[in-house]
């Protein structure tokens, strides 16, 4: 087969995968089945398109093929015999035409699918995991990292969620406007996970995946226009703008990681910072602050400082204290400890970090030993620092962060 045809199947599938899966789940109520028959359809396309040519509407072609495969599979399953007649009739009536995407109230197809997938009858983590895996193209290990759980645990949660979708017959349809707020926490988490993967890739050679960060910000802008009164939407958009403002300064000429303390702050994007700061004010006004607004406020404190030495660390610590109260995420404590180290000295920060070693949820979090290593180095405890750098190196995912940690470890030997 020609590579071109295989490439076009892949390109079409990447583009159509989310819509294809959502339509199939909507029709058959079974995500496993939808994923299997979607793969079947791609296999047929790989065999046929090089011979017959790429069809005029490749997405509709894939959907029709997948739907036929689903009906075939169900026909083999006696339990579904009665449903087949109905489904077959529906498939025939629809012909080869993909069901028209119901525009609903969400003006972006990707976001519509996110809202469809984030059904409140599923636990929040499962909503987010399914959406990231099926619609954002993240792998189960990448999703697992976003939640700081082992890949096997995440796989288990996904299995359980799929079972509930099928067993309780959770419908996949675009929600009405009044249903959006209940689904918003899941959708925001999805958008933020896409951004985080773009901020520091969980694997691969590059630190940054700018396309993912851009996409997350694009989606958050649409959400903010759609739901201007939702303060956490403003908070998330602010957070991502304020963090993304540092993008160009976060890597050196060869793609190597440059930490906050060493960044050339003249390369920070002032436009992003200004927009982010305006949004933080919105996000913090009119009620108790949410976790995204608080993280945005922390990012704003950093962005406003001329350097690490003049950063208002007391303010950062205070914001982390509030954040710990509203968002019991295990990563808040290590970040707070680092801020305490900047305010009160490395020994104070180290004491806090050492108290976190027993938190199982942080076992795979490479930034915990990395932060410990840094404080031990500053305290001149080189042997212990080396051990901690080695622990961080064993957990780190992308090559740029690995190179940074390895360089620090080597410098310990030289010094």
């Amino acid at each position: 087969m020609s590579e071109g045809a295989a490439g076009s199947v892949e390109a079409v599938f990447r583009e159509e995968r989310g819509r294809l899966l959502a339509t199939l789940v909507g029709q058959f109520g079974d995500l496993d089945l939808a994923e299997e028959v979607a793969s079947d359809a791609v296999e047929v396309a790989l065999a046929r398109w090089p011979v017959d040519g790429v069809p005029g509407r490749p997405g509709a072609w894939l959907l029709t093929t997948a739907r036929r495969k689903a009906v075939d599979r169900l026909r083999r399953d006696r339990a579904y015999a009665a449903r087949i007649a109905v489904l077959q009739a529906e498939a025939d009536r629809d012909g080869t035409v993909a069901p028209p995407a119901d525009d609903g109230d969400v003006p972006d197809e990707r976001l519509r699918l996110f809202f469809t997938c984030c059904h409140p009858a599923l636990p929040l983590e499962a909503q987010v995991a399914l959406t990231l895996r099926c619609l954002a193209g993240l792998s189960t290990p990448e999703v697992a990292r976003a939640f700081l759980v082992p890949a096997a645990t995440m796989a288990q949660r996904i299995v359980r969620a799929k079972r509930k979708i099928k067993g309780a017959r959770i419908p996949f349809r675009v929600p009405a406007a009044h249903e959006l707020p209940a689904r918003l926490p899941g959708v925001l988490r999805v958008v933020y996970a896409i951004f985080t993967e773009g901020y520091a890739a969980s694997a691969g050679p590059e630190l940054l995946r700018g396309d993912l960060a851009d996409e997350a910000i694009r989606l958050a802008r649409i959400l903010h226009r759609l739901l201007p009164r939702e303060r956490e939407v403003a908070g998330l958009l602010a957070l991502m703008l304020l963090v993304d403002a540092r993008r160009d300064a976060r890597t050196g000429p060869d793609g190597q990681l440059v930490l906050l303390a060493e960044q050339d702050r003249s390369r920070w994007d002032r436009g992003n910072i200004e927009e982010g700061r305006r949004l933080v004010v919105t996000a913090l006004s009119g009620g108790p602050p949410g976790p995204y607004a608080l993280q945005a406020a922390i990012a704003a404190v950093h962005d406003e400082a001329a350097g690490v030495a003049t950063t208002d660390w007391a303010q950062v610590v205070a914001l982390y204290d509030v954040l710990a109260g509203v968002a019991p995420s295990p990563v808040v404590a290590p970040n707070r400890a680092v801020a305490v180290a900047m305010r009160d000295g490395p020994a104070a920060g180290l004491e806090l970090l050492d108290g976190l070693g027993s938190d199982d949820r942080l076992r795979g979090y490479h930034l915990l030993p990395a932060a410990r290593a840094d404080l031990l180095r500053r305290l001149g405890r080189r042997c212990e620092a080396a051990t901690a750098y080695e622990q961080a190196l064993a957990l780190v995912g992308n090559a740029a962060e690995r190179a940074y940690l390895a360089r620090r470890l080597a410098e310990l030997g030289d010094g």
Binding site: G29, A121, G167, A168, R169, I170, P171, R173
Partner: protein, 119 residues
Amino acid sequence: MKYMLLIYGSQDVAPQTAEAVQQVMDEYWAYEKAVADAGVRIASDALQGVETATTVEVRDDGERVVTDGPFAETREILGGYYLLDVPDLDSALDWAARCPGAQHGSRIEVRPVMEFEQP
């Protein structure tokens, strides 16, 4: 698909006055009519109070043990149910939300009914 709407309430939040009891009853009659008119009702009942409950267990050796009281001493008590036949979970949740049992401090657990093939 069949769903069981299990209405759980706490005795603390039971209506106190005759007017309040009558109001809740009126709401239930209206809901009862709504599910019947929509053609989704298979069955529904309210249960007598938990003080009338008796629990039975047959042990492995065949001994029958009868005890006074509910299966578990909890504050949340199963007060009644609706068995509905609706297309999907969203529809079941919509009906649950309309049920008086979802208000006045009580809650509804929605459970899909298992479907078996006839032998």
